[in-house]
Symmetry: C2
Amino acid sequence: MSENYLILKGDICYTPSPEKMVCMEDGYLVCENGICKYVTKELPGKLLDFPISDYSGKLIMPGLIDLHVHAPQYSFRGLGMDMELLEWLNCRTFPEERNYQDETYAKRAYEIFAEDLRRGPNTRACVFGTLHVAGTLILMDELEKSGICAFVGKVNMDRNSPDFLREQSADESLANTKEWLRQVKKKEYHSVKPMLTPRFIPSCTDALMEGLKQIQAEWRLPVQSHLSENQGEISWVKELSPQSAFYGDAYDRFGLFGGDVPTVMAHCVWSEEEEQKRMKERGIYIAHCPQSNENLASGIAPVRAYLEQGMHVGLGSDVAGGAHMSIFRAMADAVQMSKIRWRLVDQSQKPLTVPEVFYLGTKGGGSFFGKVGSFESGYELDAVIIDDSIYRHPQKLSVEERAERLIYLHDGSTVLHKFVAGKQLF
Amino acid sequence: MSENYLILKGDICYTPSPEKMVCMEDGYLVCENGICKYVTKELPGKLLDFPISDYSGKLIMPGLIDLHVHAPQYSFRGLGMDMELLEWLNCRTFPEERNYQDETYAKRAYEIFAEDLRRGPNTRACVFGTLHVAGTLILMDELEKSGICAFVGKVNMDRNSPDFLREQSADESLANTKEWLRQVKKKEYHSVKPMLTPRFIPSCTDALMEGLKQIQAEWRLPVQSHLSENQGEISWVKELSPQSAFYGDAYDRFGLFGGDVPTVMAHCVWSEEEEQKRMKERGIYIAHCPQSNENLASGIAPVRAYLEQGMHVGLGSDVAGGAHMSIFRAMADAVQMSKIRWRLVDQSQKPLTVPEVFYLGTKGGGSFFGKVGSFESGYELDAVIIDDSIYRHPQKLSVEERAERLIYLHDGSTVLHKFVAGKQLF
């Protein structure tokens, strides 16, 4: 039946593996019931009369995946970049996150976040809210309206944060979390789902972590948090959790570190060997956030080593550690940072290539959401149609060259159409 | 006389020194005969009836200064970023530059370059052309039409380059240069001026350098070239010029290294102490090109040390080593790279601040052009009027915060009006 089919025509580009970028000029992406069937240069006869969405001359790429973004921080992206992590949290982040206890402010700010996310090239995201139940529900409402697929977390934090942004006990934090989950259930969201979100070890008492473990067991939720971002943070975790063998072990003690629990850990800049080993065993998803790691002077994660070990790696904007929500920018930043790492730190680790970062920003992170981030058979249709003709060029370029150039030049103004989970948003 | 006056009203921001960003909401910038007189919160009585260009709510900033850009490389910005300098020159740059012997191609490509430069936030630039006389004149014609103030160089290169992009002898290169200068003189350009441009030591024989010294003495031209960008390049210069004490000395031997000769040297990533000392003595302008130094895996220049020694430093896009022509992007890159340098290389050198990079991208580089890059009394009026309202924010921001945010977020689409050397371009 033609109505079950969606056929997109244009210049197609995707990465089935980190080594291989498939590019096809004037190709067709054939989908049935929102699922990719195949990419072809010539339509088979039986499809010739089916309606075609003709994007000739435009790039058709998988939607981009942001494995780590703080929605309430979008409002101060590009501001206050003169500090390291712990000072930045206290001076910039926490005071701003406090504003989200005001539902009017939360609505105003999250509307901007969701609308900008919708207009940009990302189609899925793992999103931190704040500790506020009502505010986080507003965020989820706005994301649901936007059509973006997202895991969203009400943040848990019951220690080492200012009075104005701290749950006063583990019990309070856990009760809030359960209340939030009950409300989420009632809302019957379609594209937005809850995710457990202990902020990071320094913000969460053992009692809170223990309670979250039980909530996880009951609700079967995925988990997101931060790991080994900054050296000061790591030393602090050592003090706070002396019984842990390494930072990640402090999550693992409470069963919140992969295994049966789908888990995203942001950063992993300074993960030592033992931590890397555990991450690999547990199938942890690493959200590599290169721009944030520059802005907060954290360092440069050894992404090449993670890839070589066959670990799960995707990209994160980490707004507002990063100033840019587009994962195209994260791709370019990842290449650039890997070059600086190669030059200044370790010449045995070759810089990342364009196909590799394209993979990280699509299929690499996408697999956290299922069969997402590629145009291979069986993948959900997440796609962006991009007009790159604004980047004028005196000669004709290949699709591969246009894709590479787009990673560097994309400025958020050129997404013409967008499909998420088989549905066209615009 | 009111017709000699130009009064701009809006949210004004400039940096008289690296330490100080002056910000004034709803201020007036008063200019007479194209020269800034003062910035004021209240207009004096005698000016109250004068016409005012009202840009209320918009940012008014000095035009940005690009101390190092390769016009023929603009066509492949964001492409071929998988190599280091010397390989990249051979595989990407030289084959593209060859195209500019075709005047039709040169015209098509330089039109794009000049139009994009005109529309962006930069108002002045030091520009490399190619070795082609006709092509470089086309570039100068296009820049003159654009209204941008530029020093432009026909490139000299008579060794270590492929046959298709090399002048066959020093004599040929010098004859071409003289012919180019005669043509330039005839053209009577208004805002575009010639600049001697030996590509870099590996491309120029001693005979060529000796001849350029004589041309410099006769024509009193400023000079631009490359210095200590890449470690492989530096070793090569040591081999090629064993009599030189250091890379910069290879220019200095021919009197093409500052002193009475206004000189811009791009990169200076790996300048050793002796080279730094000579650069300071000779008043060399350092064009710091942070993004290029990432893309070509060159390293991170010690800009803080240069500033502390009171050396002249400005910013360069180094298109196409850098993919972005906007010097706002170079400002953000400079901050980010300085943080990575602090983290990974030298914690005694504090990261650059936003006022510092704003200074580098305006007055720091601007002083190469005279009293340019600030709104202080006596400065030529170079200004851009920027609508930053597209970066929506849930709360009101100060002018200083808006300026900081713009450095990170500017995507080239928001320059509403532009003034160069007292004249309004649009």
